[in-house]
């Protein structure tokens, strides 16, 4: 009833091609953006901002990046954490060797380095596919782990191999407060999400999807696999690299290669799979599922006033989390985004379904 598009006519091409053609969607998205930017920083507690929202926002960026590669171009990658690490360490090195450089420029350059690494490790994708490619991208994971642990130049000769980020300062403003950091990350997320959403509808997105659906057919209709696959690797790694820089600079402040271990790669891949392969919305949902749910489950017994030992809570957290992953994949193999799409279809007919 509320969610009715009857009477909304698209009278121009621009209206027809809008990101959100239905007015209700549009209004809703605007409301959410305004809420997230203007209200959340004031309403949310410091804990919510620093421990939940900032990691969520940063990992949502990474999930969007990986979704470009896995969801749209169909190239499975298990090296995402390595590209995050490249973004983080490249930004660190740039920031300490060129002091005073604008932090946004630093992050973009960090992303560019990650993109270069992505292209390099994307090369095998021209020859191998599927599981074999996944295993080949693992090489990136191990290589960069090794690189940042063994070559002291990258960590500015820190004796322990752990580096800490310089002060966050953009245009003379310090981003030290949790709210400031949150808004900074959120702004980047908004730009990345908007860019990705547009990109996947355009020439590049169509190219990637053609390759994903059937690469031989795509080649026959004139799409060059080299260009398509490597551009997907480059863009995806760029976004993941920026998120890695944010993770290091904004969230952790001080990090070691273990922060970008293979577990993180798996985590990102699960975000994409559980959230919805080939869906920007799915990246958000997947990131929320993987980052927020375990913390919530961990606190749940305490919130309900059930006295349990710390170890037991932790075991229950793992079991419930695992069970939920299996549950959602059985109920809807296409991810949480698909669940939402189904709900939306139903909502349009409500209250008079066929």
């Amino acid at each position: 009833m509320i969610y009715r598009e009857a009477g909304q006519f698209r009278t121009s091409y621009a209206a027809d091609q809008a990101l959100f053609p239905i007015r209700q969607d549009r209004l809703f998205v605007w409301a959410v953006i305004i809420f997230a930017f203007l209200f959340v920083p004031f309403l949310a507690s410091e804990y919510l901002l620093r421990a939940i929202l900032i990691p969520f926002v940063i990992l949502a960026i990474a999930a969007i990046g990986l979704n470009i590669l896995v969801g749209y171009c169909g190239q499975i990658s298990l090296g995402s954490a390595a590209f995050m690490a490249v973004g983080a360490y490249a930004s660190y090195d740039i920031a300490i060797h060129i002091p005073g450089l604008n932090l946004i420029v630093v992050f973009v350059l960090g992303g560019v380095c990650a993109a270069a690494a992505g292209v390099l490790f994307g090369l095998p994708s021209l020859r191998i596919k599927g599981y074999y490619l996944a295993v080949a991208t693992l090489a990136a994971q191990f290589f960069f782990d090794w690189l940042f642990i063994r070559i002291p130049w990258f960590t500015n000769y820190a004796p322990s191999g752990s580096v800490s980020a310089p002060t966050l300062r953009i245009f003379g403003m310090r981003f030290d407060t949790p709210a400031g950091r949150y808004i900074f990350c959120l702004a980047i997320l908004a730009v990345v999400a908007l860019a990705a959403k547009n990109l996947v509808r355009g020439r590049f997105g169509r190219m990637w999807m053609a390759i994903r659906d059937m690469d031989i057919a795509a080649e026959i209709i004139g799409i060059r696999p080299l260009q398509a696959k490597l551009s997907a690797f480059a863009l995806s790694s760029f976004v993941i690299g920026v998120s890695g820089a944010l993770w290091a600079f904004v969230h952790l402040g001080s990090w070691e290669p273990l922060a970008f271990s293979i577990d993180r790669s798996f985590e990102l891949l699960f975000m994409v799979v559980i959230g919805g392969i080939g869906s920007i919305l799915g990246s958000f949902l997947g990131a929320a599922f993987i980052t927020i749910l375990p913390i919530f489950l961990n606190q749940l017994p305490g919130l309900l006033g059930i006295p349990l030992s710390t170890a037991m809570i932790s075991h229950i957290e793992f079991m419930t989390f695992g069970a939920l992953i299996v549950f959602f994949l059985i109920v809807e193999p296409h991810g949480l985004a698909r669940l939402w799409a189904i709900a939306r279809q139903k909502l349009r007919l409500w209250p008079f379904p066929h």
Partner: protein, 439 residues
């Protein structure tokens, strides 16, 4: 739309969190506990956490708190993962009437990450025997307290012991010492000091990293079999230690030439390795055993009433005792601070003053029931380590037996390195280097 679910989730979460804030007693001192009772490091995390929890409980049960201020505590599981540690820190730092008194992360990685956050939140870190070695210098790093010693002290003490065993520092010339270390900031910390000592006394330092979590060490020990170093220093944690002992037995490397850091000398490291552990030596910050006066109290007030955290038989392992000692530092820091700020719940900033002026001479330790368990310790603003001494003990197949007296790390070597590293840290972070002179 993406954000609909997101905000919905947060709304629910926010509401739940808001509802969850229970009515707090006003006269309580909150001492949080970051623990890991699961994962590959749990064998070492559990006894430590139990020791901390038992001692805090004992102070409440026996003395009714610290000068009448009850201690409240809460555990948060980090799993030794830095990001979860940061989440736990954020979760716990504001609890209690005055916020968290101090944090004991028991993880070098988490300590590193929290060092960036504690100056802003004004909560001290008690990283006793671990963490960034630079934090020994309170002039630059006022918020982190490696009471008992840094890793550089540990490396120096281990080498001093070896020098004594071979008959003097000059006899070390041309010898080979291998460092088998956990490939993380924890394991890498001692490297600069060992290399400096190696240069000074002309012995070779061979670095053999073991990747997290340390169950795969075949290649490392094959290298040791080939190179036959004269001594092996083991800088492991969790399952890595018992694995190393078994691998050493497999390549027939003499266990009595292996010396572990004070985190690689617990019963949970040697018992799983069974016979392979026999003869293995490790640094000891504290003895093992449950026959000290404080244990009598722990049994009397907690285990006889069935409110102890663990089983009776688990009381008194090396790391359990270290947990008790850590909790003692926390409690005494609060007590010291109460002397200045009054007998009420104190903020983290006030507790920091207490840590900075922590003084536990022999008679005080005797009164507290820690005689023989802990050396007299005195922290100052300049020197956060409060005396860097350790003994060496050896596993005889059943228990740890001391094989050396207390060894003091050579401050002529360690201290200048700590100060130089602290200065570099201050330069990177733009920090003042005279925090002690200001206050």
């Amino acid at each position: 739309m993406a954000k609909l679910l997101k905000t919905g989730l947060f709304a629910v979460l926010g509401m739940v969190l808001a509802m969850a804030a229970p009515a707090l007693a006003q006269n309580e001192q909150f001492i949080p506990s970051l623990v890991y009772r699961t994962g590959p490091y749990a064998p070492n995390g559990i006894p430590f956490a139990n020791g901390v929890a038992d001692y805090l409980k004992l102070v409440n049960e026996r003395d009714g708190g610290i000068n009448g201020v009850k201690i409240s505590t809460e555990e948060c599981e980090t799993g030794y993962a830095t990001d979860r540690g940061v989440e736990c820190y954020e979760r716990l730092k504001g609890k209690g009437p005055t916020g968290a008194s101090l944090f004991m992360p028991l993880s070098t990685g988490i300590t590193y990450a929290l060092m960036e956050k504690v100056p802003g939140d004004k909560i001290p870190l008690l990283n006793s025997g671990y963490g960034r070695s630079e934090s020994g210098d309170g002039n630059v790093i006022p918020w982190s307290f490696p009471v008992l010693g840094t890793y550089w002290d540990a490396a120096d003490i281990a080498m001093t012991y070896i020098a004594k065993e071979v008959g003097g520092w000059d006899k070390l010339k041309g010898k080979k010492v291998a460092l088998v270390y956990h490939d993380s900031p924890y394991g890498k910390e001692p490297i600069p000091l060992l290399q400096a000592l190696g240069k000074q006394h002309a012995f070779d330092v061979e670095l053999l990293p073991v990747t997290h979590p340390g169950v795969e060490q075949k290649a490392t020990w094959l290298q040791i079999r080939q190179n036959r170093p004269d001594y092996v220093l083991l800088w492991g944690w969790g399952v890595m230690n018992s694995t190393a002992l078994k691998e050493a037995a497999a390549v027939a490397y003499p266990r009595d030439k292996m010396i572990g850091v004070w985190w690689a000398g617990n019963e949970s490291d040697t018992v799983p390795a069974e016979d392979a552990a026999k003869g293995y030596k490790a640094l000891a910050l504290n003895p093992t055993g449950s026959n000290f006066p404080v244990h009598a109290d722990i049994f009397k007030y907690l285990y006889d009433k069935n409110i102890g955290v663990t089983d009776r038989k688990d009381v008194g392992s090396v790391l359990y005792n270290r947990g008790v000692i850590n909790a003692l530092f926390a409690v005494e820091a609060v007590r010291t601070a109460q002397g200045k700020f009054g007998k009420k719940p104190l903020t983290g900033e006030q507790v920091r003053w207490g840590l900075e002026n922590l003084d536990l001479p022999a008679d005080a330790l005797k009164k507290l029931g820690f005689e023989g368990l802990l050396r007299p310790t005195k922290v100052t603003c300049d020197d956060h380590t409060g005396g860097s001494q350790a003994r060496v003990f050896q596993w005889d197949g059943k228990t740890w037996q001391f094989v050396s007296d207390w060894i003091q790390s050579d401050q002529k070597i360690v201290r200048p390195m700590i100060e130089a590293a602290a200065k570099k840290y201050a330069g990177e972070k733009n920090l003042p280097t005279n925090a002690c002179k200001q206050s």
